[in-house]
């Protein structure tokens, strides 16, 4: 019995570890400037905990194998433990864990403690059940005023843009987000109804959109292409369908796009969606 259990534990451990390290199922290729550091931190962590996991399980299996009761046996070892050991492993784990915790902050700090760098491209994100709306400032770079009371779904004015506001004249809106490559992007995240979550796996980035708040976050994408955008916070019935795309465009192409008035903007985005294929997984 003891041997069997030991072997099973070891097999399960091997299986669990290998399902990670075959890398058959792994993160999609990253496309953001902070992702490299984040992936490294993840790798370090997963290796540390992987080793600890294996060590703990192997040890467990070993005890189970070695110390099973055999007829001939005398009694078990009579001990109430060793304070020295306790102190040692408390300190060791404390160092490892706190170490990981501290290392784990750098990416976070770079994303959340610093304001978006000057000259970053701004997009206003207005989520709703179950659709994404992205509000672009147009070439004047100033967002037109929005107000919930102006929302008019029939007129496709989902974000309540105030047409009378001069700044709004050149604003564009779309359900697809188009951002420039290699240029900091600042998102102003809002929600019309319940909590949603802006999430593009390739960005290694996630942020709730909380109604009543306009949360500002920033990142830099460094790979052109088309990526799937998902909602990662339960927002109701069609949560699983709240999908859109993120286009990361070469600076020039992006500039041109942003210069277009709403109608051409729309059709241009459709073209771009067709132009850029999804990454192959």
């Amino acid at each position: 019995m003891g041997r069997a259990l030991a072997v099973i534990i070891w097999i399960l451990t091997l299986g669990s570890v290998s399902i990670f390290f075959v890398k058959q199922w792994w993160f999609p290729a990253a496309i953001s400037s902070h992702a490299a550091a984040l992936d490294r931190q993840f790798l370090i962590t997963i290796i540390v905990v992987g080793i600890s996991f294996t060590a703990a399980q192997v040890a467990l299996g070993y005890m189970v194998w070695k110390y099973r009761e055999r007829p001939a046996n005398d009694r078990a070892v009579y001990t109430h433990g060793s304070n020295r050991l306790e102190v040692i492993w408390t300190i060791v784990t404390a160092i490892i864990f706190i170490g990981l915790a501290v290392m784990g902050q750098s990416v976070w700090a770079s994303l959340h403690f610093a304001k978006a760098p000057a000259g970053s491209f701004q997009v206003e994100v207005v989520a709703q059940q179950f659709q994404w709306n992205f509000h672009y400032a147009g070439h004047d770079g100033v967002f037109g005023r929005t107000d919930p009371s102006l929302i008019d779904d029939s007129a496709l004015n989902f974000i309540g843009l105030d047409e009378t506001d001069p700044n709004a004249k050149d604003d564009q809106t779309h359900s697809v987000i188009a951002i420039p490559v290699n240029r900091p992007v600042e998102l102003i995240l809002r929600s019309k109804d319940v909590i949603h979550n802006f999430w593009v796996p390739q960005l290694r980035f996630k942020q709730d959109l909380v109604p009543g708040m306009a949360i500002r976050v920033h990142f830099t994408a460094n790979q052109t292409g088309k990526y799937e955008l998902a909602c990662a916070e339960l927002c109701g019935q069609l949560h699983f369908k709240m999908k859109s795309y993120m286009l990361v465009l070469p600076e020039a192409e992006h500039q041109a796009l942003m210069a277009l008035p709403q109608e051409q903007f729309q059709s241009r985005i459709t073209e771009l969606l067709a132009k850029y294929p999804l990454p192959t997984y």
Binding site: S149, V210, G212, A214
Partner: protein, 115 residues
């Protein structure tokens, strides 16, 4: 029967309790007086909370008799409560944050029924 363990007699004279009561009333009057002193809200808040904590302490110590209980009981009850209440203060950064990040728009006055 453990009744013979707790001393039946209840420490503290009615005179003592009355004087505590006087203190409580006085502190209350002070609080009311403060209400009409124009001063910064946070200052007012700190003073009021300070006074309230004193009052609470008086009630717990004398009326609720904790002062006359064993130290071990005090050490069991008070710290865990204090710690948890202090922890609740961790909410505050987010209160100010959500105020700061509030999405501003023109609210129209509610159609509150009139009387």
């Amino acid at each position: 029967m453990s009744a013979h363990v707790e001393e039946e007699h209840f420490a503290g004279s009615n005179k003592l309790f009355t004087s505590i009561w006087v203190w409580l009333v006085v502190l209350t009057l002070v609080e009311i007086g403060l209400a009409y002193k124009p001063m910064a809200l946070h200052l007012m808040l700190t003073i009021l909370l300070g006074l309230s904590i004193i009052k609470a302490a008086l009630i717990v110590a004398y009326f609720m008799h904790l002062k006359f209980e064993r130290l071990s009981l005090i050490l069991t009850i008070v710290p865990m409560l204090v710690v948890c209440i202090c922890l609740l203060f961790v909410f505050f950064p987010d209160s100010f944050r959500s105020a700061g990040l509030r999405y501003e728009f023109k609210e129209q006055p509610p159609a509150a029924e009139e009387h």
